[in-house]
Amino acid sequence: MRDRYLALFDDVEHAVEALTELRALGVPEGEISVISGIPVAEAIMGRPKVANLMARWALPGALIGLVVGVLFTMGTTLMYPIHVGGQPIVSLPPSMVIIYEFTMLGVILATLTGLLAQAELPRLREKAYHPAISHGAIGVLFRCDDAGFAQVRERLLALGASEIIHVDRSES
């Protein structure tokens, strides 16, 4: 059984030391994460970089928007062609405005969707959190087995953890 624990620290320096200690005590990197009230770069915490795939959402969004724009402007006129004074049925200059707006709308909606999907939001029932984090504390979330927890706890408290909270019990 490997339970989840959240250790709270008052500053970044102590949290960084705690991360080093957790690694030394055998907690795998993949079972540690950092929670903070302001963004802290991975390099500062000595953590692996979070993969960012936002462009993979934004670009298809732009493409979908562009296609929708083309269909609305050119497709709809071709569906119901009305010849007026010899003017072309499909005209690019006035169509560009709508195509542009739909392309932008596509990027906007796709970026939002990408953010929600990648950050796994909304997540209303997640318990691994403490209100002190929004007051400036740094939370170090980790998994640890029952046998090793006493030692981990002792080390983290020695490194300045203000609190260590048992989050939940899990099978993994």
Binding site: P39, V50, V97, I108, T111, L112
Partner: protein, 481 residues
């Protein structure tokens, strides 16, 4: 020894001065900032209730009763008539679209160039955009008369399978505003999520806590959440700038694509964008002064912010003057007869001359006089006065562009003189009240200061001793590799 002690005292004094000047150097604990912002948000005073009640009454009078009266009796109750078929409703529409510009656009530009002083002002600015767009979006519906037929503008076919004409500037307007409103709402909401989480954590009332819990989407501040928020904001920052520019350009094309003398102009696109930013920055100055005063945010909104907003206002004064004069001079030099008629109507002793000269005084003379000196820019009431003056001037400009221009055309037998009716004036008052009311309500629902962004800025800014003096510096945490 004594000279060293004297120097140390000088440095201590300098440090105090640097901190007083720059919010980001004057660090406070996050807990203290959270409590201050939450307290301002949760305080329901008698003055606030009174303001909400009066504004609510005006909204009901204008957008409830007056609009209902117009819907019942038709557009005949408005002052528009041949040849002036576009009156204050369209002037109001252009005006509010303009106000919407400074918020998101200024915020996005300041984010893009990494202007650190922006941190406490972005939220108030972005909220302004959303509310102004909501007000602006009502005006085409009001102006339509038969409001219930608004769905004809939606991109969907009629029962005869005929689609709206996507080549019409009015349809461009609809799509541009929809895109900008969607983008601005998300641009406001994304950086609000971490502050919603803060409000969720520290709110006392149960209903509020539940509301914040939902709005914060369960935000915790994990590495992945911050990283993706940061990247998403970067994408939005660069997307929203061209979208904002397109919106007011397209609004200008509602006029410029016609053959009406005074409207058909190649400079109208950039002229409208510059005018929109100008009026929006003016409104932002007023909003910041009011938020500072009534929310007790003197710590966050300091002289440096007023000074910087004042400088942007002053710069925009020159830009607007340049664009306006450019358009005016080329038309004057062209000596087209119809434009001569229009100039006679609105200059010298013409009936519309008060609007024309009023516009020049309030848009050029007063802002320059008030904002030229640092003292003028950093004094809240003079900055607010300049902002109000700019908005009066920009409203007069829109009024001149819409009904005044339509009053004179190529055919003297079809000239007219437009006077707005009481119904139009009441609806205009109602929409202004709605904008203020939305702001008043928002001030008690969301933190108007982006607390996490201020704290992030304070963590990054340091005062370093270099040689014999102290120098402020920035450590870019988020750029650490």
């Amino acid at each position: 020894m004594s000279s060293d002690r004297g120097h140390e005292q000088e440095l201590a004094h300098l440090e105090r001065e640097l901190k007083a000047r720059d919010l980001l150097l004057d660090r406070r604990s996050r807990e203290e900032m959270n409590y201050e912002v939450m307290h301002a948000m949760e305080r329901i005073s008698l003055g606030w209730l009174l303001a909400a009640f009066v504004l609510g009454g005006l909204v009901f009078l204008g957008l409830g009763l007056a609009w209902a009266y117009q819907i019942k009796w038709g557009l005949g109750v408005a002052g528009i008539n041949r040849p002036v078929f576009w009156g204050v409703y369209i002037a109001n529409f252009v005006f509010w679209i303009g106000i919407s510009h400074a918020g998101t656009l200024i915020s996005a530009i300041l984010r893009a160039v990494g202007a650190e002083w922006r941190r406490p002002i972005t939220r108030a600015a972005e909220a302004m955009t959303v509310f102004a767009l909501m007000v602006a979006g009502m005006y085409p519906l009001i102006h339509m008369g038969r409001t219930w037929r608004f769905y004809w503008m939606l991109p969907a076919p009629t029962q005869r399978l005929i689609w709206p004409n996507f080549r019409s500037p009015l349809m461009w307007d609809m799509m541009a505003i929809l895109t900008y409103l969607t983008g601005s709402l998300i641009f406001l909401y994304l950086p609000l999520i971490p502050d919603m989480a803060m409000a969720r954590d520290h709110s006392k009332a149960k209903i509020r806590r539940k509301l914040f819990q939902i709005l914060s989407l369960g935000w915790r501040g994990t590495e992945a959440e911050w990283k993706h928020l940061h990247v998403a904001m970067a994408i939005f920052t660069f997307i929203i700038i061209p979208v904002a520019a397109s919106v007011h350009t397209i609004v200008s094309w509602d006029f410029a694509m016609s053959n009406v003398p005074g409207w058909k102009s190649t400079i109208f696109g950039p002229y409208f964008v510059v005018g929109a930013i100008y009026s929006g920055v003016g409104a932002l100055g007023v909003v910041l002064v009011l938020v500072r005063k009534f929310m007790g945010f003197g710590y966050y909104l300091r002289e440096q912010h007023l000074d910087n907003i004042g400088k942007i206002m002053l710069t925009m004064t020159f830009f607007w003057t340049y664009f306006w004069y450019n358009g005016y001079l080329t038309e004057w030099y062209g000596a087209e007869r119809a434009l001569d008629f229009l100039r006679e109507f609105m200059t010298y002793t013409g009936p519309a001359a008060p609007f024309f000269y009023g516009m020049l005084v309030t848009n050029i003379v007063i802002p320059i006089a008030l904002l030229w000196s640092r003292a003028g820019r950093t004094t809240p009431w003079t900055l607010a006065l300049a902002g109000i003056s700019i908005n009066i001037g920009m409203y007069l400009e829109r009024y001149i562009i819409v009904p005044v221009t339509l009053s004179r055309n190529r055919f003297p037998f079809s000239w007219g003189h437009y006077v707005p009716s009481p119904v139009e004036l009441l609806i205009s008052l109602g929409s202004l009240s709605m904008f203020i009311l939305l702001y008043v309500l928002l001030s008690r629902i969301v933190p108007l200061i982006s607390v996490w962004e201020v704290q992030e800025g304070q963590v990054m800014h340091v005062i370093r001793r270099v040689g014999r003096t102290l120098v402020p510096g920035v450590v870019h945490w988020h750029k650490a590799e």
